[in-house]
Symmetry: C2
DNA sequence: TAAATATCTAGTAAAACTATAGGGTTATGT
DNA sequence: ACATAACCCTATAGTTTTACTAGATATTTA
């Protein structure tokens, strides 16, 4: 029941963009440096985020990424679902592509997983990017923590 | 954010034991057959469940497993935590062995993960084995679904 | 004693995860 | 023009996890 680095890094990148976007588009390598992430890996995470409309990109010099819509209209759930796939503890209660099994009808555990799925989505959708971006302004002086061991969250 | 087969199969096995225990200890191969599971694999799942006191075993002929305590005092969370480890979306908010990172103090995403962790535990602890065991009595006639593809839950 | 059952210790093939790397093209501001 | 930066495609390698399988031993009841 763990998130992968995709969801964790992706959310941090989105918060970073939200915090910095008043100063214009944010380049991948800027986010990567500030968040101690591989820019090559981050690039891969931004592709689905863009396809989902959560970010827009601007090419060329001074280009980079901006939010696809207002930070108050992007939830953590939106981001996690794009990067990790549908939030569901088991595939048989997956809302997008329900992989039901034969015992589904008289499955006793199914209602637990359904309830858990719904609650997880509710919690993740209760936080907007705006909530998180305001929570903490970027580190003063742009202090960069480049410790590779510092990526548990 | 998926459960592994350990948690899924383990819970089903526990429900099975709860439903059948009036007729005495339930043997591994009986559970395995009824739930379409590998008895060799199930055997491995029962070891930690026994160590945690959730089941007791009786060796020898007519032996098998019984619940370690009343079904009303065993929650789904108890079982899942034993089989999957602490329920936490990221390691840095793991309650047993918190693997904190340097940015923990000014980590914006951390509060989301903490809240998600707590909610997940609450949901899973809100269901007892008794709830599930009563929900559906075992299939009449002991119908066995031996389809290997039937183990999504 | 014989059959039934749990228990212990390993091994293992396949998949997923977490990146890293190469080798570009296209678009844009200055 | 030129530097910057996104965009695109592919590959791959190391590690960890998953989901079992296998063989042997120990214990208990009938």
């Amino acid at each position: 029941m763990k998130l992968s680095t995709k969801g964790r890094y992706g959310l941090r990148a989105m918060v970073d963009i939200a915090q910095q976007q008043d100063a214009g588009p944010v380049a991948i390598h800027t986010i990567a440096q500030r968040q101690s992430l591989s820019s090559r890996y981050l690039e891969q995470l931004l592709i689905p985020l863009k396809q989902a409309g959560l970010v827009k990109s601007l090419r060329g010099a001074q280009g980079g990424y901006v939010l696809g819509r207002s930070a108050v209209k992007i939830t953590v759930g939106d981001i996690i679902r794009v990067l990790e796939g549908p939030i569901a503890p088991v595939d048989c209660v997956n809302e997008i592509n329900p992989d039901e099994c034969m015992r589904a009808e008289h499955c006793v555990t199914r209602k637990v997983w359904t309830r858990l799925r719904d609650t997880m989505n509710e919690v993740l959708d209760s936080y907007t990017l705006e909530d998180l971006a305001q929570e903490s302004m970027p580190l003063a002086g742009g202090a960069i923590i480049d410790d590779d061991l510092d990526n548990k969250c």
